[in-house]
């Protein structure tokens, strides 16, 4: 009472809470949050892999500060990293294992959760076969967690129906690299951004998704003395497009045609690097023939909507640069032709000799903090250490190293993520174990997914947070999260970073590796076979080192201490490269193909499987915003982030807004043939073209993946998240935007000379009008 009165009168202005004081390491910082100790670690959000210090006070994280000696982030952090400490004690954490009893999730002891789940898995496998149990993992684990989980699922549960959520984000890059270079593994370094003459960002909105990479671009001018030419290729004028010297507003999903078209012009003009092509690539003849036959500039201009003379300018800028860097993310990967688009980007780099040089590489920027870790040792699309299921030698080698019978190693990859969902829908898979991912927000075509998941006998969710998927689970394994466990993350540039444990796991949570190891004890003989030497994360890391030795992703020269000392190490790290290697495929570093050369691959652009139509005349693009992380399990309780981006919105071109008679701030319904979202706030903006709209996918409250299409790349199984046909319904125009038959096609063609042929074909018969 007295306190209330005092507070009202303003006697106490809480000086201590808002005062700064001297910290030994970082100087003057908030006194209230001066930690007892600083623990050097790595950020657990995205694939950039920033170095940071976790401030620990009274055993809990209270501060995160950028590590200025870290080569990636050099002291900076994005808003999510800066507030990451808040995430650990979020009230959205799951702090105890749970089992659904009488329809409600109830806290149980670990033993009950494990024995219940093990019994279920065993019964299902006895009745329906080993493959009836499936697992979907993540890009959020530490590599030690991945390795342990993969080992257990493949060799313990003996099911190869196991895939990562990385299939939703990086799979196309993986498959594209495999096609072109013989193996996964991004060849570049972030510092290449600081040395490139030309930086081409394709479908990469780094301003929102990887803002710290801007640091390396900003350093370019400091280092080279002049600004690099930045080309941004994106159908939407993203924040990143503001950086562009040349913005290429290509038609949605026409990227592959654009790149092939640039190759045509380069060949036509003789701008290619003949020496490089001859010495370092294979398949040049066939490739050139394919390009020259199919991608003449006018054709490409029709597909992409980019004028012929602009194509020539682009080709010239790219080809004439001493060092050209091309980087991409989800705009390229999340596509039904993602794998081939990745190879097309590699082709372009190869014919101009932009590989394995400082400032010159085709570079995929990863989404999640350890998407790379699961690619290397996750045991999903390959055997740990980039080994092939189909190679008997690889299987033998792996079995020998870890001491298991070779028969146990699968001979082929099981179902990929979308195939697992389909198999559940068919009734083939009865049990699903989901770890640190949230399909009930992130997977396309939510309604179909939801109805499929209902057919499961058991859904087990292993997560640190009460995600939308966890809410539907039959069993929850409560996991520790970032800062509560020890291990390594690999970032986009192959840098293996050390994430140190700073605090004890909250409540009854365990590290993901420990959960798996403990769980394995409920399966006869499996713990003894697989994990008996895994006493700590270091033991797991040692086995990873053994498994990787001699492989491209060679960890054998690393140790936790060395990684920490160097601020991460870029693999391969071995006797030859004791401090790692900045770039792959440099002079004398062969590609892991049969002939050691990179492959020039004839790849083709294909039109969208679902194009705009009279009922759904708009194209929906989905993506991210800097303030939120993926499905918000981690960020939804962080007040600073939610203050800036509290809900989803739809970006709408003023012309479309006019047709719908809506203004910024109005609320609309958006729908596709698969589902809809209501009460979505409108942001009228010129960053999207007429006929396009954009909605961020983070928000379960406005679940845009209700609308997206379950259309997958046949090679990578990555969903085509960025394009599907939708309509918008406003209060004033409840029937939505209409397409109408038009009378004169020629007139329209004139108006739309800058649009792609597909577009024009459609438009010439139907015109969008209210």
């Amino acid at each position: 009472m007295l306190h209330k009165i005092k507070e009202f009168l303003g006697v106490d202005i809480k000086i201590d809470k808002y005062k700064k004081a001297d910290d030994i390491k970082f100087g003057k910082i908030s006194k209230f949050k001066i930690p007892d100790e600083w623990v050097r670690s790595t950020c657990g959000y995205c694939g950039v892999g920033c170095g940071l210090y976790i401030g620990v006070k009274n055993g809990r994280p209270v501060y995160t500060k950028g590590d200025p000696s870290h080569p990636v982030s050099k002291g900076t952090l994005c808003p999510k990293g800066l507030t990451e400490h808040e995430m650990v004690d979020s009230n959205n954490r799951v702090t105890t294992p749970m089992i659904r009893k009488n329809g409600a999730l109830q806290a149980v002891e670990w033993d009950e959760a494990f024995s219940y789940t093990a019994k279920k898995f065993q019964d299902i496998q006895a009745k329906y076969g080993k493959g009836a149990v499936a697992c979907i993992s993540t890009g959020q684990f530490l590599t030690e967690d991945f390795y342990t989980l993969g080992k257990f699922v493949q060799l313990g549960l003996e099911t190869n129906n196991y895939d990562g959520n990385t299939t939703l984000c990086m799979a196309s890059a993986v498959m594209g690299y495999k096609q072109s270079f013989g193996s996964d593994g991004p060849p570049a370094s972030y510092e290449d951004f600081s040395y490139a003459d030309v930086i081409m960002l394709i479908g990469a909105n780094i301003a929102d998704n990887h803002p710290i990479l801007k640091l390396h671009i900003a350093r370019n001018k400091k280092i080279r003395g002049k600004k690099p030419t930045i080309i941004v290729v994106d159908p939407r004028h993203s924040k990143t497009a503001n950086m562009a010297d040349i913005f290429v507003p290509l038609a949605p999903r026409s990227d592959l045609a654009l790149i092939n078209g640039l190759c045509y012009i380069i060949f036509e003009q003789g701008w290619e690097d003949e020496k490089f092509i001859k010495e370092r690539t294979s398949g040049a003849l066939e490739f050139k023939k394919h390009i020259m036959k199919n991608y003449p500039p006018q054709e490409v201009a029709n597909i992409t909507g980019i004028e012929v003379k602009e194509l020539y300018r682009l080709a010239k800028v790219y080809a004439s640069a001493d060092r050209a860097m091309s980087a991409w993310t989800m705009g390229v990967n999340q596509s039904s032709i993602g794998t081939d688009t990745v190879s097309a980007i590699c082709n372009l780099a190869l014919i101009t000799g932009n590989l394995g040089k400082e400032g010159a590489s085709p570079f995929s920027i990863t989404g999640q903090c350890n998407a790379m870790g699961t690619r290397e040792f996750g045991f999903t699309s390959s055997i740990p250490g980039y080994r092939n299921y189909s190679s008997k030698q690889d299987r033998e080698e792996f079995a020998n190293i870890i001491g298991v019978p070779i028969e146990l190693i699968p001979t082929k990859r099981g179902y990929a993520y979308p195939e697992i969902i389909e198999a559940i829908d068919r009734g083939e898979i009865k049990a699903l174990w989901v770890t640190a991912t949230n399909p009930l927000v992130s997977f396309p075509d939510q309604n179909r997914l939801r109805s499929a998941l209902k057919k499961l006998d058991i859904l087990v969710v292993q997560d640190a947070f009460m995600s939308e998927t966890a809410q539907e689970a039959d069993v929850i394994f409560s996991a520790a999260t970032w800062s509560e466990k020890e291990g390594v993350y690999t970032n986009s540039e192959r840098r293996c970073n050390y994430a140190k444990k700073a605090v004890e796991p909250l409540g009854k949570t365990m590290s993901d590796a420990n959960i798996v190891i403990e769980f394995s004890k409920y399966f006869e003989g499996k713990y003894e076979l697989l994990f008996k030497d895994f006493k700590s994360s270091r033991d797991i890391f040692e086995e990873i080192k053994l498994v990787s030795k001699g492989q491209l992703c060679d960890y054998s020269g690393m140790s936790y201490e060395k990684i920490e000392e160097l601020g991460g190490i870029q693999w391969p790290c071995n006797e030859q490269y004791p401090e790692g290697k900045k770039r792959l495929y440099t002079e004398g570093f062969d590609c892991p193909t049969d002939d050691g050369k990179a492959k020039l691959l004839p790849v083709d652009w294909k039109p969208l499987s679902e194009s705009c139509n009279p009922n759904f005349p708009l194209n929906l693009n989905t993506g991210r915003t800097v303030e939120q992380w993926h499905t918000r399990t981690k960020t939804k309780t962080i007040s600073l982030l939610n203050d800036l981006a509290p809900e989803a919105w739809v970006e709408l071109n003023p012309k479309d807004a006019k047709k719908l008679k809506v203004k910024s701030g109005d609320r609309i319904k958006i729908g596709s043939s698969r589902g809809s979202v209501e009460n979505l706030i409108v942001k009228v903006t010129e960053v999207v073209r007429e006929g396009d709209c954009f909605v961020p996918f983070h928000f379960s409250e406005q679940m845009i993946n209700n609308l997206t299409i379950a259309d997958f790349d046949p090679k990578s199984f990555e969903p085509n998240f960025k394009q599907c046909a939708v309509n918008i319904y406003s209060d004033n125009v409840p029937e939505g935007i209409k397409m109408e038959e038009t009378k004169i096609a020629g007139e329209l063609e004139e108006q739309n000379s800058a649009k792609n042929s597909n577009y024009i074909e459609e438009l010439s018969s139907k015109k969008r009008e209210v």
């Binding site: 303003g10 030994i24 209230f32 200025p68 900076t76 900003a218 350093r219 507003p249 800036l644 910024s664």
Partner: protein, 529 residues
């Protein structure tokens, strides 16, 4: 736990970014005579990532809605030739800071050496007047503390060579600390380099922030253009201003009655009841204003800065007025009459008039265009007609019809004046000039009045005519017809109604003001007004 790190401290470590960002220590030249520190913001480098905002809040331990640094978002052009313009702004450490001038407690100091505009938390009473005065909406109320706080360029860090949080955090190196010669800046460069889209006229405060802008910028509109958030209602101030103004009106009636009576006109002599009714509204209203403060206990210190702050002047004058009005009531009680009474009343009145004038001048600030009109002063005095009505009622009760018609006629005139002033305001918003540099803000006020508060606005207008004109006119009619009781009833209704009308008008006054400032964020908008 073992904490093995390669470096013990990052203060002296250089992050090799080649920029001020990333480093926890900063190298800046020493200040010479006439120089100060300032921010440089490179809008061509900023990518709108909000790192600066987050880093600032983390360093200051500020809650999410207390932002010392914000990123304004604007957009212009037509697809695909679009510019998304981000303006990361904290305090501009102005050469002529309005926050400092207006602060009633002298809580702002412009450091003579560094030029940093610093806010002294201890002496702040949370009156938030600086949040009205700053055309950039930089000072922000922290309700957890009950005081206003603002960016101090991390002056304590700078002083020992440490990097301000925002500068350290920016991955684009878009925020830097520089040294500027103040005179040269004002004379030559401010006009060219101190301006950015959608920021107020630099002449108001002479900000020091230097901008690097993109070439060939299109016309830009703020991201929160359509996001209309009404300003704070300031209810204690709604009541305080109206009540003190009514009090002054009543006191004027009292004084005029006393003078006319003394001059021998055939009018009744003012009574003790009238003196009491004149001072009561002010006595109730004035303390109410303390409720508006974050620290009511320190209310009295608001009188400190009479030299430059209208708020201090108001506090002193209305404090004195209320005190003297009490003395006047005491004189009626003790039946002290004649010249002494008239003299004391005259002094009280003059101080009261100055008090209400000062009160109105509080709102005549450049940062708030809707308030910064002569009409504000007029309306503040105009509300006094209710005081005339109050005295008229007492007159009718005490003396019947004798003399009341004269006072009622004056009341009617005063009410008429208020109607005209309000009519002028209505017409002003109906015919806003699009080329007015303040059009953006004024138009938003117009939209708020029309769309958010349409009902209240209607009530305000019709009730004003009804209660300030029609009913008093009926009162005159009834008085002239000898229907005194009916006249009293009519006037009581008229007074209550008029009071409600004025309160509604004042409520609108606070809620519909749209301050100058940085463009907002699509969701967060700009600072609380």
């Amino acid at each position: 736990m073992e904490n093995r790190t390669p470096l013990e401290s990052f203060i002296n470590h250089k992050a090799k970014t080649g920029m001020q960002c990333g480093n926890y220590s900063i190298d800046i030249p020493e200040l010479k005579e006439g120089e100060q520190y300032r921010f440089h913001f490179d809008a061509t480098a900023c990518v709108g990532c909000h790192c600066c905002e987050a880093a600032c809040n983390e360093l200051q331990n500020n809650p999410a809605d207390v932002k010392w640094r914000r990123v304004g978002e604007m957009e212009g052009g037509e697809f695909p030739n679009v510019l998304q313009f981000f303006n990361s702004m904290s305090c501009n450490h102005c050469i002529e800071p309005e926050c400092l001038k207006g602060c009633p407690t002298n809580s702002y100091i412009k450091f003579e050496d560094s030029g940093i505009v610093w806010h002294d938390d201890d002496s702040c009473i949370g009156c938030q007047y600086c949040t009205w005065n700053c055309p950039y909406e930089v000072p922000v109320m922290n309700y957890d503390r009950g005081i206003v706080t603002k960016c101090d360029m991390c002056h304590d860090k700078l002083a020992i060579g440490e990097t301000p949080a925002c500068v350290q955090a920016c991955p684009a190196g878009a925020i830097e600390i520089e040294v500027v010669n103040k005179e040269e800046w004002i004379k030559h460069n401010m006009e060219k380099e101190g301006v950015a889209p959608h920021l107020p006229d630099i002449e108001i405060t002479k900000p020091t922030t230097r901008y690097t802008l993109p070439e060939n910028m299109p016309q830009l509109s703020p991201a929160d253009e359509r996001l209309l958030k009404p300003a704070h209602a300031e209810l204690p101030l709604v009541f305080m201003t109206i009540l003190t103004q009514v009090s002054l009106g009543a006191f004027l009636a009292l004084f005029l009655g006393q003078v006319l009576f003394s001059l021998g006109f055939n009018l009744p002599e003012p009574s003790l009841a009238m003196a009491i009714i004149a001072f009561i509204p002010s006595a109730i209203g004035l303390p109410l204003s303390a409720l508006h403060l974050g620290r009511p206990i320190m209310a009295m210190t608001a009188m400190k800065n009479w030299k430059t702050s209208w708020l201090s002047r108001e506090a002193i004058a209305l404090g004195a007025y209320t005190g003297l009005a009490t003395v006047v009531a005491g004189m009626y009680f003790l039946e002290i009459k004649g010249f002494t009474l008239i003299f004391v009343e005259a002094i009280t009145l003059i101080i009261g008039i100055f008090g209400i004038y000062a009160q109105s001048m509080i709102y005549r600030v450049k940062a708030r265009p809707a308030w910064n009109r002569v009409s504000t002063t007029k309306r503040f005095f105009g509300s006094g007609y209710i005081g005339f009505l109050l005295i008229s009622i007492l007159l009718l009760i005490n003396n019947g019809g004798a003399g009341a018609t004269v006072l009622l006629a004056v009341s009617l005139l005063a009410g008429m004046a208020q109607v005209l002033i309000v009519y002028e305001e209505v017409m002003f918003y109906r015919h806003l000039n699009k080329s007015d540099p303040l059009y953006y803000q004024l138009n938003r006020t117009r939209i708020l009045l029309k769309e958010h508060f349409g009902q209240i606005k209607k009530f305000r207008l019709y009730s004003l005519i009804g209660f300030a004109l029609v009913l008093p006119l009926l009162g005159v009619l009834f008085t002239a017809s000898g229907l005194i009781n009916l006249a009293i009833t009519t006037l009581v209704i008229s007074t209550v109604g008029a009071l409600l009308s004025e309160l509604a008008g004042r409520y609108l006054f606070y809620r519909t003001v749209v301050p100058l400032g940085l463009a907002g964020n699509f969701f967060a908008g700009n600072q609380r007004g």
